[in-house]
């Protein structure tokens, strides 16, 4: 039995989310969605866990604070400058450096994390992708056995798909 891709195109995210819920309930094939905007409806319908990018940002933030402490304490011990009899380790100014590095590394880690987790830079276009999905249409691509194709197509149409097409994978 060969696998094929069925691509449904929707005018709005509500209908697209309905179709996703139907497809999930029927447990037919794997699916992927495309949308011009991030949609909470689609995200809830798909039901995936929260993005782990938040842990990557946290790791970046902690590394930033530690780097800040290492730089300030390390360089102060390397060049022991007595400024007006103040303690060698002046913590309040170090907080500024630690804060800036926390934000810097948190942001860099977050940016690289989102690229890595999202699979970009990507050189290949995902099956079923269409330029309209970046513009004004919401798309679902279901990869399923040919035997189930008719059922998937009718589920998409019933959920309000404007257009449903088949593509070989």
């Amino acid at each position: 039995m060969s696998t094929i891709a069925i691509i449904g195109s929707f005018a709005d995210d509500a209908r697209c989310a309905n179709a996703i819920e139907e497809l999930r309930a029927a447990k037919v094939g794997e699916f992927n969605t495309f949308s011009p905007i991030p949609s909470h409806r689609i995200e809830h319908a798909i039901g995936r866990k929260k993005s782990p990018v938040r842990w990557i940002v946290l790791a970046g933030g902690i590394s930033g604070v530690l780097t800040g402490l290492a730089i300030t304490i390390g360089t102060t011990y390397e060049w022991r400058l007595n400024a007006g009899g103040k303690p060698l380790l002046s913590w309040p100014p170090f907080i500024v450096i630690c804060f800036e590095l926390m934000v810097l590394l948190g942001g860099i880690f977050g940016f690289l994390g989102v690229l890595g987790l999202s699979g970009i830079p990507a050189t290949e276009i995902a099956p079923g992708y269409n330029g309209r999905f970046g513009e004004d249409r919401f798309g679902i691509v279901v990869r399923c056995d040919e035997a189930e194709a008719a059922r998937v197509e009718s589920m998409m149409r019933e959920s309000g798909a404007e257009e449903v097409v088949r593509e070989g994978v």
């Binding site: 905007i37 103040k86 992708y129 970046g134 513009e135």
Partner: protein, 452 residues
């Protein structure tokens, strides 16, 4: 008289894309003449900087005790201008402010170019610019390290972090829009956008990580933006110089930064709306809200001026009082009163709802604010240095042509980069406009902007 453009008051996603992408179509001669003019001024400024590097800071008007003047004024001014971008893109994002979607990309772009301009001034101000890296810690055989008690070192960290984070936040927002532009582009632009879009396709997986990262980046950028201008203010407040040594400087500078930055956003957006034909994206609703932010921050800044005067009087320090007397009534007193007029009096016109939707009036008011805020920085920085503890050291300052032309060049550099961006990358966020399409439609239906 040309007929008013017909505005689609019920735009679809596709209409938004068309309006934004139309701005990126190849430009005419007038545009290139403008860009050429800007970069010619930048070239002149660069040549004068070269001459300054070769000859030394003697070519400037900097003389003891006024060793910080126009260059540092420009640095603080441009860092301040940058702040509105992060306010609109990050802080108002966290508050879920609806009107920000149409103006955030332009404001964020302004942030990037304003910080890039600001970052040049500490370098321009250095006598031996090739040693700029001495501000940063690095391993060296003499074990010499910067003193982290110095606010100038904090500044190096704060401003470079600000530039990096703003650039990443801006790039992240741009990726889905560039991917959208890629679909309809042809020729070299297609290749250009395809490379920049990095294969973005808007899958649920991509949006899931993107949305979370965007939220967290906004969360990181919010305290960052407040910290950056606080750190800039501590460059002054940490010194014991009268006129600088004040605990109110951090909130005072942050409010001033947002005030000048939002005014600059309006100064740029009002002519852009007409020149780029984007009346269907920027409405009365957007300008009215931006004007309210300008009005609010103007009141905060006015309050800071009053508090500063009160604290000086109440503290009873004669040197501090003398400095402020010089500031108000000395040889440069006129600058202080220009600043009060531009920053405290003229913005009061924004209490009028009619003025808040009159674009000509708004444009003139925001230009006054920009002038006033530049003078504010100059009065604080150079003005406070002219009259020090020792009357025998008092001296005036006169900027040289090098400093004036480098200042003009910095405006040209900023405007030139901004103009280039407008034609090659999306200056409006298609993604966010579509997310807030309901609000945009409502705003378009109520729109009654005058004197466009």
């Amino acid at each position: 008289m040309a007929a008013a453009p017909k505005i689609n008051r019920e735009p679809s996603f596709r209409d938004i894309d068309r309006s934004v992408l139309r701005v990126m179509e190849p430009a005419g001669r007038a545009y290139w003449a403008w860009v050429g003019f800007c970069f010619t001024l930048v070239g002149i400024a660069a040549a004068l900087w070269m001459r300054q590097i070769y000859s030394g800071l003697g070519v400037t008007g900097l003389r003891q005790p006024v060793m910080w003047a126009i260059y540092i004024t420009n640095f603080v001014f441009w860092v301040g201008i940058a702040h509105s971008g992060t306010l609109i893109s990050a802080i108002l994002f966290l508050f879920r402010t609806k009107w920000r979607t149409a103006v955030y990309r332009a404001a964020e772009t302004m942030t990037i170019f304003a910080v890039a301009t600001a970052g040049l001034f500490p370098l321009v101000h250095l006598g031996r610019v090739w040693f700029f890296y001495w501000l940063l810690p690095y391993p060296n055989e003499r074990s010499l390290q910067p003193d982290f008690r110095s606010p100038l070192v904090w500044d190096a960290f704060a401003v470079s972090t600000y530039l990096t984070i703003s650039a990443l936040f801006w790039t992240m927002g741009l990726i889905p829009d560039i991917a959208n532009a890629r679909e309809s582009a042809t020729g070299w632009r297609k290749t250009f956008y395809t490379v920049l879009a990095m294969g973005w396709q808007g899958t649920d997986r991509q949006w899931r990580h993107y949305s979370m990262a965007y939220l967290l980046m906004a969360g990181l950028a919010t305290p960052l933006v407040l910290s950056v201008h606080s750190v800039v203010s501590w460059d002054f407040a940490m010194a014991i110089n009268p006129g600088w040594h004040s605990t109110i400087f951090a909130p005072y500078f942050v409010a001033g930064a947002i005030f000048s930055g939002v005014a600059m956003v309006m100064t740029l957006l009002i002519p852009m709306r007409k020149l780029l034909g984007i009346e269907d994206l920027l409405t009365e609703w957007h300008f009215d809200n931006l004007a309210k932010v300008v009005l609010l921050t103007s009141l905060v800044v006015s309050y800071a001026y009053i508090t500063e005067a009160f604290m000086t009087w109440y503290a009873g320090d004669p040197i501090e009082q003398m400095t402020f007397h010089m500031r108000y009534f000395g040889p440069w007193g006129w600058m202080y009163w220009v600043m009060v007029l531009c920053n405290c009096v003229i913005p009061l016109l924004l209490f009028s709802p009619r003025i808040r939707v009159n674009l000509r009036a708004l444009w003139v008011i925001t230009i006054f604010v920009n002038i006033g805020m530049w003078f504010e920085r100059f009065v604080i920085i150079a003005g406070s240095l002219t009259a020090n503890f020792e009357p025998s050291q008092w001296a005036s300052y006169r900027p040289s042509i090098t400093e004036i032309m480098i200042t003009v060049g910095s405006f040209a550099w900023f405007l030139g980069l901004f103009s280039l961006f407008c034609r090659f990358l999306p200056i409006f966020s298609m993604t966010e406009l579509k997310e807030g399409i309901v609000w945009l439609r409502k705003a378009l239906k109520m729109d009654r902007v005058t004197a466009a």
